[in-house]
């Protein structure tokens, strides 16, 4: 426990001193939320975009935070220094997760405040499910970040693939909003993307509506998390 606390503290300091990733995690989804609200004139549009922006916040922390940090640490041989201790790879990942989770929580709180106070959006928050789903989605995206950073060797390729995945998921989740003429193929592709499941869950949580496929989403996420962690653990490289 002492080791996790010490590593988390240091990762937090590193993040504060190099705040670009933190700023991106918090600011980028807020920009999407605010610009979408302004362009679509009001709270209905915010109700559509808020679940996506919350999902994007967690996704950015995982894909552009954890994956990049691990890849940079590996390339700069920092991981190799950690390898020469009794630390496990999971402890390092847990410390990364703690810090990025904190940043994503700050981002999510900002987005909800903006939705309520700036756009006068009336939310009927199901707080228990909302908190549970934030934790579940954070673990989901974190395991995906771990998987990518484990199987892809260099910072450049990790950056390219993470950015590509982030952009694809964002496009597939933002473009169809309010558009009923989206093709079946687009919907099918969208349904297998991790961000889509987060969007569905947060959509139901924010308005306390019934989500018929909640259990299906949880099973899908659980299966993916197990798969990502097993493969990530197997292929994790310290250098």
């Amino acid at each position: 426990m002492k080791k996790i606390i010490a590593l988390t503290r240091n990762e937090f300091l590193v993040f504060l001193r190099e705040p670009m990733a933190g700023v991106f995690i918090i600011l980028f989804p807020i920009i999407i939320l605010v610009s979408s609200g302004i362009m679509n004139n009001g709270s209905d549009a915010i109700l559509n975009i808020l679940p996506v922006s919350i999902g994007l916040t967690i996704l950015a922390a995982a894909l552009l935070g954890i994956t990049m940090n691990l890849a940079i640490y590996r390339e700069n041989k920092v991981l190799k220094r950690f390898q020469m201790t009794k630390l496990s790879s999971r402890t390092i990942l847990f410390a990364e997760f703690n810090v990025l989770y904190l940043f994503s929580i700050i981002g999510i709180i900002c987005e909800i405040i903006i939705a309520i106070f700036l756009f006068r959006t009336k939310l009927r928050l199901n707080i228990e499910f909302f908190v549970l789903d934030i934790i579940i989605c954070s673990i989901y995206f974190w395991s995906m970040g771990f998987f990518i950073s484990a199987i892809i060797p260099t910072v450049k390729s990790v950056h390219a693939i993470s950015s590509l995945l982030f952009t694809i998921m964002m496009i597939f989740n933002i473009t169809p909003l309010g558009n009923d003429t989206v093709s079946v193929v687009v919907k099918m592709v969208s349904n297998i993307l991790p961000l889509t499941h987060a969007k569905f869950l947060f959509d139901a949580d924010l308005m306390s509506t019934l989500y018929n496929y909640r259990l299906y989403s949880y099973v899908y996420i659980l299966f993916s998390v197990i798969l990502f962690i097993i493969i990530g653990n197997k292929f994790f490289r310290w250098e």
Partner: protein, 214 residues
């Protein structure tokens, strides 16, 4: 003297290019060993095998009576060993004091690290970030973090490479101090004259084999 590490018939190849061929070696407690050889002769490879950091093709490595395996016994190995290998780094935005605190927790170091800081003359750098240090200062900090692991065996891979005379002398003084404390130390260098004054025994890697020097 007790044998603490025993290497027997070790063979290591990179893409069918044999670097170490049937190498055997034993290290005893409290002695300082030097491993010398030309660049690319396999000195670092030997140490990385002993530390279980890279796989090897043939042979056995035992540490304190236990045969070690690549990627399996890392926690066991680093409960006895610490190392300063070439090119490793610490997080560049962390201050020296923060690095020392972190590694004192990770290494379960119970004492006060001020004596290490003073001995290595890092006191004035405590508030500097890792990225702001010179190469020699980085080497000294890496050595300090390795010593915070409270190990019985210390591996130093080219500890004097690229550092000035003054820093080199400080590191050597420190190694002499550790020797008095009965620590086993293995120093790698490509220059025999650099380390021969410190070592009880020097082995040379030449043409994939080990030869022993007095």
């Amino acid at each position: 003297m007790e044998t603490i590490i025993s290497v027997s018939g070790l063979t290591k190849a990179y893409n069918n290019n044999v670097v170490l061929d049937n190498v055997s070696l034993s290290l005893k407690r409290g002695k300082v060993y030097g491993i010398i050889g030309k660049n690319g002769s396999g000195k670092s490879t030997l140490i990385q095998c002993v530390l279980g950091l890279i796989p090897w093709e043939k042979g056995t490595i035992s540490m304190f009576g236990k045969e070690i395996k690549y990627n399996v016994d890392r926690k066991y190995i680093f409960s006895y060993c610490s190392a300063v290998l070439q090119d490793v780094n610490l997080p560049k935005k962390l201050k020296v004091s923060e690095c020392l605190k972190l590694f004192s927790v990770l290494g379960e170091y119970k004492g006060n690290y001020n004596s290490i800081v003073e001995m290595l003359e890092l006191k004035e750098q405590l508030n500097k970030k890792y990225e702001e240090l010179s190469y020699g200062q980085k080497q000294k900090l890496l050595l300090a973090t390795a010593l915070l692991q409270k190990a019985q065996i210390l591996f130093l891979d080219e500890p004097t490479n690229g550092i000035d005379e003054n820093s080199r002398n400080q590191i050597f003084q420190f190694i002499k101090q550790l020797k008095k404390e009965n620590m086993t130390i293995v120093i790698i260098s490509h220059r025999k004259e650099d380390i021969s004054c410190l070592c009880d025994e020097v082995v040379e890697i030449d043409n994939k084999k080990l030869t022993f020097n007095a």
